[in-house]
């Protein structure tokens, strides 16, 4: 079975309580029907802007919050049904690296303590000598030095702290690492260090899968195997790395790609880049079936007022929730299939 993690129909709704006697309960649909499978030995990336639901999705996978609906499977076993032994194994197999390297390391612990903790917790008690040897191997993998072990987190720069966080994440030999915007707060040259480190770890540790979350398309391009694009709690497109960038099939993905500043921009300072302004106030009533992206979409038509927004397969491991782009491609692929 090649799926390490599988999500089926995952929803996470947060209630909004305006008044005590509201007839209709309103919800923030942070994650609104997501199906994902993450395979062994891949870097699966979630890309989306703020409010897309990617961090909530990561929290659901990590077990930090519980889904409102849906199932999460780890190696074929459903998480909420897991009992002691399986649950422990599940927790041992996953680790996480957060965005903020300043708040994710305990300021009262030395680096040695920070690294020892997951080892003792998940691998068990080992002799000091073996522990020392093992930690040295870890430090080597992430280009940290032995003298760093006896210092405290505040003595290190942001990039170094993030490397410590990554060392901590691999310490207990996990099968799955979640990285939530691990380089967003770092300078570009430091970011390069961390991204290269991740790629190296992927090579060296053949059995680890990564869930990489970011809003930065360029970073995603550099590290990913497969990419899911999220918008307002739903996955709008899912494809292999090069496919997504060479052949985006959802209007939102296209919009994201066009917005990335790059060095080849021909429209520089000519004022020709004029993104269409759409009025966010609309007279359309709360139509429950309207596509989430309708109001900002350049490809919309009347059909979009009533759309299931379900992902459909278009061939070559590529899924999209919209059929307005490359519509013909989609149809011809069906015939070939």
């Amino acid at each position: 079975m090649k799926n390490l993690i599988e999500l089926q129909g995952i929803k996470k709704y947060f209630p909004i309580n305006y008044r005590l006697f509201d007839r209709k309960k309103k919800w923030v649909k942070a994650v609104d029907g997501v199906d994902i499978r993450i395979e062994k030995r891949e870097v699966f990336s979630l890309v989306g802007e703020s409010g897309s639901g990617k961090t909530t999705l990561a929290n659901l996978i990590l077990g930090i919050t519980q889904p409102t609906e849906g199932n999460i499977f780890f190696k074929g076993k459903e998480i909420s049904m897991m009992k002691n032994k399986d649950l422990k194994e599940f927790h041992k197999s996953i680790s996480v690296v957060f965005q903020d390297p300043f708040s994710s390391l305990n300021p009262r612990m030395t680096i040695m303590d920070i690294l020892k903790e997951p080892i003792m917790e998940n691998i068990g008690v080992i002799k000091n000598k073996d522990l020392k040897e093992y930690i040295n191997i870890l430090l080597n993998k992430t280009a940290l030095r032995e003298e760093h072990l006896f210092r405290y987190a505040h003595e290190f720069s942001g990039g170094q702290r993030q490397r410590i966080a990554i060392t901590r994440a691999i310490a207990a030999k996990p099968e799955f690492i979640v990285l939530d915007e691990p380089t967003s707060g770092l300078d570009v040259s430091i970011q390069a260090q961390i991204l290269n480190l991740l790629l190296d770890l992927k090579e060296k540790y053949e059995s680890i899968s990564f869930l990489f979350i970011s809003h930065d398309m360029a970073v995603i391009r550099y590290v990913s195997t497969r990419i899911a694009v999220m918008y307002k709690g739903k996955i709008v497109e899912l494809a292999n790395n090069s496919d997504l960038f060479n052949n985006p099939l959802h209007p939102y993905t296209k919009h994201l790609l066009e917005s990335v500043p790059n060095f080849k921009s021909i429209n520089k300072k000519s004022g020709k880049i004029k993104s269409k302004e759409f009025n966010t106030f609309s007279n359309v009533n709360e139509n429950k079936n309207i596509c989430n992206y309708y109001f900002k979409c350049h490809y919309r038509d009347r059909e979009c007022l009533n759309c299931t927004q379900e992902l459909h397969f278009v061939g070559n491991n590529h899924y999209t929730a919209c059929n307005k782009i490359g519509g013909n491609l989609f149809k011809s692929e069906e015939i070939i299939k």
């Binding site: 802007e49 570009v188 040259s189 066009e258 790059n262 993104s275």
Partner: protein, 321 residues
């Protein structure tokens, strides 16, 4: 009548910290023409924001300007009194920052922010102020401005708040806008719109923009000229397209090679070993020598390089050239 709006000449700035004297800025010289965008680029700690604050004379008590001149419209900014500076800030020179929620007062409505800014610099009656407030909100593409005049900052999204900050900066028609990483906290699609907006307004008003950013690709999108800073010094400057397509300084080159892109070929990113030096006892000679792969021993670590003039105003400070 010169075309130069802002001229900074040989600026040297120290902070007198309890730990020692931090040599924050050293030999900073550049000029900004009228109706032009200049990008001040560099990573965190290089001194770009401090340069902006020096121009606006908003430095902390511990700051000491050891040397240098700052000429704005041919008048020496460093010689002005605080009262004179207050007339300049918000009117001749405006600034927008990275975090709109920190820049706005959470207890004041949007309308109040704008009227306060207008009235600080002009004698104007209530009715006219309100009209101008509505006008500027429309200019920054906030639809339904009447509604937003009465809202509080927390009721607006990040992108809208940033538009409000831009409105505040532009309402008194400044000649110079200093933009300090003003799109960093925004989503990439919003960032694009806001940048386009400021570009349009800049063209319309023939304003100059000093754009501070760590994002070289963004700088390429909008800047005419670019100044690359490292550890408080300028390492390279010139026309943006020239510097970014043919960088001369090892730091600029390394920086460009560390930026991931979305093009077809995905090359291995180059990182720069080591960390930014401590500026309390900055490295002698070229401050980048501690991390430079091409360092020439006994030269790069002893002598500060003389400027190398490459063609068309492109300058770099490196012994290798």
């Amino acid at each position: 009548m010169t075309n130069k709006l802002l001229e900074i000449e040989n600026l040297k700035l120290n902070f007198n910290d309890y730990m020692g004297t931090v040599e924050v800025l050293d030999k900073i010289s550049f000029s900004l023409n009228k109706n032009s965008w200049l990008g001040l680029v560099g990573e965190s700690g290089c001194g770009k924001s401090v340069t902006a604050f020096t121009i606006l004379r908003l430095l902390p008590e511990s700051a000491e300007i050891k040397n240098g001149d700052i000429l704005f419209k041919e008048a020496n900014i460093l010689a002005k009194t605080e009262k004179e500076m207050q007339k300049i800030r918000g009117k001749e020179i405006s600034m927008i920052f990275q975090e709109p929620q920190s820049a706005l007062d959470p207890s004041m409505r949007i309308g109040a922010h704008i009227t306060e800014t207008i009235r600080a610099h002009r004698k104007i009656n209530r009715k006219e102020v309100k009209l101008q407030a509505l006008d500027i909100l429309e200019k920054v593409e906030i639809s339904n401005p009447r509604y937003y005049l009465n809202r509080y900052p927390h009721e607006l999204s990040g992108g809208m708040n940033q538009r409000v900050c831009i409105a505040l900066a532009l309402v008194n028609d400044p000649s110079l806008l200093i933009a300090d990483e003003f799109t960093t906290s925004l989503d990439v699609t919003i960032q694009k719109r806001i940048l386009e907006l400021v570009l349009e307004i800049q063209k319309l008003n023939k304003m100059s923009v000093l754009f501070i950013t760590h994002d070289l690709a963004l700088a390429h999108e909008c800047c005419d000229y670019i100044v690359v800073m490292y550890a408080g010094q300028i390492v390279e400057k010139g026309r943006a397209d020239k510097v970014l397509s043919s960088p001369a300084h090892p730091y600029t080159k390394a920086l460009l090679n560390s930026i991931p892109g979305i093009s077809k070929d995905v090359k291995r990113l180059q990182s720069i070993d080591g960390v930014v030096p401590n500026l309390i006892k900055p490295p002698a000679g070229c401050r980048f020598h501690t991390r430079c792969k091409h360092k020439i021993p006994n030269i790069c670590d002893k002598l500060f390089p003389k400027v190398r003039h490459l063609d068309d105003g492109h300058q770099a400070w490196c012994h290798l050239l």
